[in-house]
Amino acid sequence: MTAVGQSVLRKEDAKLLTGQGTYVDNLHPAGTVFVSIVRSPYAHARINGIDVSAAAAADGVVGVYTGADLESLWSGGLPCFWPVSDDIKLVKHLPLATDRARYAGDGVAVVVAETRVAAKDAAELVQVDYEPIPSVTDVEAAVADGAPLVHDDAPGNQAYTWELVTGDVDKVFADAAVTVKERYRQQRLIPTAMEPRGVLCEVNAAGDVTVITSTQGPHIMRTAYTLVLGIPEAKIRVIAPDVGGGFGSKLDVYAEDMIVIGLARKLGRPVKWTEERSEANVATIHGRDVIQEIELAATAEGKITGVRTRLRAAMGAYLQAVTPGVPLLGAWLYAGCYDVQAYDFHCTGVFTNTTPTDAYRGAGRPEATYAIERAIGALARQVGKSAVEIRRLNFIDSFPADIASGLQIDSGDYHAALDKGLEVLGYDAVLAEQADRRAANDRKQLGIGFSTYVEMCGLAPSRILGALRYGAGGWESLSVRVLPTGTVQVMSGTTPHGQGHATTFSQIVADRLGVEVSDVEFLSGDTAVVPTGMDTYGSRSLPVGGVALYHASEKVVAKAREIAAHQLEVAADDLDYEAGRFSVKGSPDKGMHVKEAAYVAWTAHNLPDGMEPGLEATYVYDPPNFSWPSGCHIAVVEVDTETGDVQLARYVAVDDIGNVINPMIVDGQVHGGIAQGVAQALWEEAVYDEDGNLLTGSLLNYLVPSAAELPSYELDRTVTPSPTNPLGVKGVGETGTIASTPAVVNAVLDALEPFGVTDIDMPTSPERVWRAIQEAKR
C-alpha cells in the first residue's frame, strides 16, 4: 500500500502531546538575560527625551537603552522586500524609534535585566518625554486633504500606486447592459497565533551568532539579519524550533529580533524576549484593512464582461517585509472563477498611524474573493437570478484557462464543486426550511451564502516574482539522504509551524524510495542543518517544497539504479523499479533495494567508475505556475432578527486542491482556515479610537472564536490534479480562509433579504445586523 493518499497519523504529535515542545520561551540557556521593550502609548508623538536613570538603577537591571543608544547597531532599517512600484516610498524603519513614534506600540527603549520580571518592572520606570502630534488611523481619512502625515516624505500618506489593466475596460463598461458598483470594507485583523513571538540569541567567543526565533522563515531571517545588522550571513545560524502557529504573522522581519541579536552581541550573554499577548496585539503585524470598490459590467442576463477594482490598502506606519505586495497577491483574482474580457485593478497603499499590516492567512486573496463573491450577489439581485444560477452562467469552464487578468489557471471543475456542495448541503431542503421561516415571519431567519472561489498559491514562479519586483525567488530546496543502514533523512527548506510537514513529506519520500514512513527523518528549521530554503508562506510547502522532494527522491532513485545495475551486472535500462526495489527484467528474484544501494554507495568499495560515493540528492524546484485551488463553500446562518445575533448553523466546504497526500492533515488545514475566515465575517475586528489607541488590545476584546461559537464543518472534495507538477498537488493552507468569509456574509445578507438589506459591514456583529434591519424597516 502506498503511503500517499493515506491519513497517516502525525509524527509531530508525541512531543507536543506530552509537553516536550521546544517553543522559544521554553528554552533557558544559563546566564540568559531578559528584554522588555518600552513602547509608545501614543499613535504619533515626538520623542523629546528619555530618562532611563530610574530604570537603570532598579534591581536586576543589566542595561537600559534608547533607540539613539542602539542606532549604531543597525547598518540599515528593517527591510521591505517588495518595493512594488517606482513611486513607492521606502520609508526608514528603525527597530527602535529615535525621534518620532508613529503608532501606539512603536518601540522607543529597551530594558535588559536578569529576570523577566525585573525587566518588566524596570520598563515601567523609563520616563519618555513624548509630545503627541496629530495622528490618523483610518485609511480614508489618511488620504483626505490636510491629513496628518505619518512620514514627512510621503505626501498625502501615499505609499505607492499600482495597477493592472487588460482589455478595453472603458468600452466594456460603456457597452454593458447592467453594471453594479459596490464598496466593501475589509476590517483590520490581528493574526493571533496562539504562541506569541519570541526570540533568543546566543553569541559565542568567535562571534558566531545563533538565533532561536518563532519564525516561519529561518532562511529569510538569516538574510535579513545580515542586511540590518551587518553580520556576515555565514556567521549566523537561525533556528525555528517548534513554532506555535504563524498565519503569516511570523514571516515578518521584526524589530525585536534585531534588538535581541544586537544586545546579545553587545553584552556577550544570551538574550531573550518573549512577547506578551497584549504586546502582540500592537507589535506583531496586522492583516487586511482595505477599502474596496468593485464594479462589474454585465449583459442583461448577468454574464459578467468586465471588472474594475479600486483599493485603498492600509500599510500601517511602516512597510514591513512584504506589506506593499499583499494587495498584489489578490490583484489577479478580482474576477474570481468567472470568465470576463476586461479587467482593471488599481491599488493605492496608504500610511496610517497604526501597527504595520502584512501577509495574514490568504494575503490579498481573501480580499479579492470577498469582493467578487459579494459583488456577484449584487449582480444576481439586479438581474433576478439566484446565487447558483448567476455562478453557473459565469464559471470558467475550460482548462487550463487564460484569465483576463493575465495568468493561467492550471486546472479545475467549478460546476462539479458547486454540484457537490449543493448535494452535501441538501440545498432543496434548506431552501424549503428558509421559505417556511420566511412565510411564518419567524424571528429566526435562515440565510444560505455561497462562495465559489479560485485562488492562486504555491508561491511562486521566480520569474513572475521578479516581474513584480519581489526581492527573492519562489523556489524551494529539498534534499534526500539515504543513510548506510537504510533510513532516510529529508532536509527541507520549508519549515513547519503546525502544518504537519514531517508526516506529509515522509509519505512522499517513503513511496518513492520504498521505505516506511517511520524510516524517514524530517529535518528543517535550522540553517545549520538545512542551509538553503525559501521557507513557509503562501500555501507553498507542498506544491513547491513537496514537489522538490519528489524530484530529489527521483534523483536518488536514478543514482541507486546505476549502483544496482553495476552490482547486478546489467544495464540500468534492464532494471524494473517498484516499491524501492530494482529487479532485473525477466529475472525478478535478482534485484537490489534502494537501502542496499545506499550501503554500497557508502562503502564505495565497488561503484561505477567516476561515481561519487554516497546516496543523496538535492533538488531546487522553481514552479512553472502558481497552483490554483478552487471550490464551493456554503454557509447556513440563523439570524435572530430581534437581537441581530448570527449563529453559523452549518458550513459545507467542497475544495479541489488536486491530489491529496494526507487527507486527515488536509482536512485539518481546511477546518482551521474556515474558522479564521468565519471569524472575520462574524467577530474579529481591530478597532482604533480617534486618538489612535488600539481598543482591541487583548483577547478580552479582540474576539477570537472558541469552539462554542463554531459548528462542525461538512467537508468534501473534487479532484482535478494540477498538470504543472508531477504530484498533481495544489496548496491548501489558505483555501478555507479565502473562501469562507464571503460565504458567511452572503448568508447573513440572504437571511436579511426579506427586510431589503443588501449591504452590511464586517464583522456582522449583532449591533450591525440589528441596525441594518432597523434602517431597512424605515
Partner: protein
C-alpha cells in the same frame, strides 16, 4: 518571599516564591515544566490550563502561593509512562492538534470536563471548551477527539 510546598505530577516541591508569582510561571520558570504554555495575559486563552487537585484551572489565574499544599498535574504528568492518557491518544488519532501550543491546556481541560460530564453531547463539549482557544484546528477535530475519548457518538 513565601515558602510553599506544591506536589506537581506526584513530586513534592518546596520553594520560595514571590507572593505575586503566578502558578504558571512557578511551573515554567522555577520547576522548568514548560509544557504549560502562556498564550495571553488576560486569562482568555486557556493555554496554561493545569489540573489543581484534579480539576482544571488556568494557571495564570492562580498565584503560586495559592497552590501551597495542593496537587498540580501538568501535561508532563498526564501520560502513564510511555502510554498516552486516553485523551492524549484521542487527540493523536483525531488530529486534534496542529501547532500544539494550545494542546496541553486543551487536553487537560478536556480531561477535567469528562470527569464532570462523562457522556457529553457535541454542544456540551463545545460550551465546555469556551475558555480554551485554538487558532489552528477550527476546533472540529478537538471536539471529535473529546467525544471519542468519552465514548459518546460524534
Amino acid at each position: 518571599m513565601k515558602q510553599i510546598a506544591v506536589t506537581v505530577n506526584g513530586t513534592r516541591h518546596e520553594a520560595e516564591v514571590e507572593p505575586r508569582q503566578l502558578l504558571v510561571y512557578f511551573l515554567r520558570e522555577q520547576l522548568r515544566l514548560t509544557g504549560t504554555n502562556v498564550g495571553c495575559d488576560t486569562s482568555s486563552c486557556g493555554s496554561c490550563t493545569v489540573l489543581l487537585d484534579g480539576e482544571s484551572v488556568k494557571s495564570c489565574t492562580l498565584l503560586a502561593v495559592q497552590a501551597d499544599g495542593h496537587e498540580v498535574t501538568t501535561i508532563e504528568g498526564l501520560a502513564d509512562g510511555d502510554t498516552y492518557h486516553p485523551m492524549q491518544q484521542a487527540f493523536h488519532e483525531h488530529h486534534a492538534l496542529q501547532c500544539g501550543f494550545c494542546t496541553p491546556g486543551m487536553v487537560l481541560a478536556a480531561v477535567s470536563y469528562l470527569k464532570e460530564n462523562p457522556k457529553p453531547t457535541e454542544a456540551e463539549v463545545r460550551l465546555a471548551l469556551e475558555g480554551n482557544l485554538c487558532r489552528c484546528t477550527g476546533y472540529h477535530n478537538i471536539v471529535k477527539a473529546i467525544l471519542a475519548a468519552s465514548g459518546a457518538e460524534a
